[in-house]
Subunit: 189 residues, 2 copies
């Protein structure tokens, strides 16, 4: 049910950016949104969503800004793990992720690549944190176009996983990335 709400809010975000309705309609809609927020705020988690256990023991990061199904800011990305150790995600980014006109903000590409490269190092109950991340931008990444992010492990050295990957559209790679992801010995951060 929170999934439906988050999906509704994603559509609202897009319409908020692109709407051209008059000031009176904007005021009426804003009032209605404030009413909705008040309803939802009748009972709130004290802080952020964090990671919560599902009834069957899975760790759910539903509030995560990249993959969180109940976070309207997340596209949300669905990261699939291949049998060959690669990970990938297929997605389309709309007006909410704009940088240069008509294009995905370079920093959003970094956000997605950080997550997808990091996913190569993650293990259940044993998260990996980004140590370093390097992005190389080859050309603009278009909005409203099918995109794929993919990554694989280049090598592992002790607690460090070295991963490489990229984002591509139908015409090829737009951004390349490499990163070092670290399994901390103790809980961190």
């Amino acid at each position: 049910m929170n999934d439906r709400l988050a999906q509704s809010v994603r559509r609202l975000i897009d319409a908020t950016i692109r709407t051209q309705v008059d000031v009176q309609t904007l005021a009426t809609v804003s009032d209605k949104i404030d009413w909705a927020t008040e309803q939802l705020s009748a009972s709130l988690l004290p802080g952020s969503f964090g990671v919560q256990q599902s009834p069957d023991g899975q760790s759910l990061a539903l509030g995560n800004v990249v993959i969180g199904r109940r976070n309207p800011v997340a596209p949300p990305l669905v990261v699939a793990e291949g049998a060959d150790g690669t990970v990938h995600a297929d997605f389309v980014l709309n007006a909410a992720y704009e940088g240069p006109p008509g294009h995905v903000h370079g920093g959003v590409c970094a956000l997605i690549l950080d997550h997808v490269l990091g996913a190569t190092a993650h293990q259940p109950g044993r998260p990996a944190y980004t140590g370093t991340l390097t992005l190389r931008y080859l050309r603009g990444t278009p909005l409203s176009t099918p995109l794929r992010a993919q990554a694989h492990v280049d090598r592992i050295d002790g607690s460090k996983t070295f991963a490489v990957g990229h984002i591509a559209d139908a015409e090829g790679v737009t951004v390349q990335a490499e990163g070092v992801f670290i399994h901390p010995k103790e809980s961190r951060p």
Copy 2:
């Protein structure tokens, strides 16, 4: 007026992630949000917001995912330019930007640093595009805490601006960044 709507939607996003109300309330609120989206969609820009000229000739990137005042996904960052050529932005990130529990997603730090480092190279009517960006994560960046991102130009070589910067909380730097930003000779991307 779009500013007020975007601010209302930002509060709604936070409540959507953190709410614990019952299924019936979620359904009622979702219906109301869908109604609001329908009202706003009576007149929509055909695509993303892009960059539009204000009546006094300023270029406005109101839909930008980092600084766009009418983009609810943007915090929005207000980037200030110092007399000494440095740029900085003060901000607080809430539950919508979460990665590790209680902390800002490392990729969101990359998104903000890409923008703030890039701002050192931007000139009116002459945007700069990210060539490469390297992030070094020193420790977790906390949510709901005053943060500052700052950057300055290290050197300029032809069309390339080399910039460095970081994000810090009250206890010091959490993420360092360096990037190369390029002024294209022709229009790009």
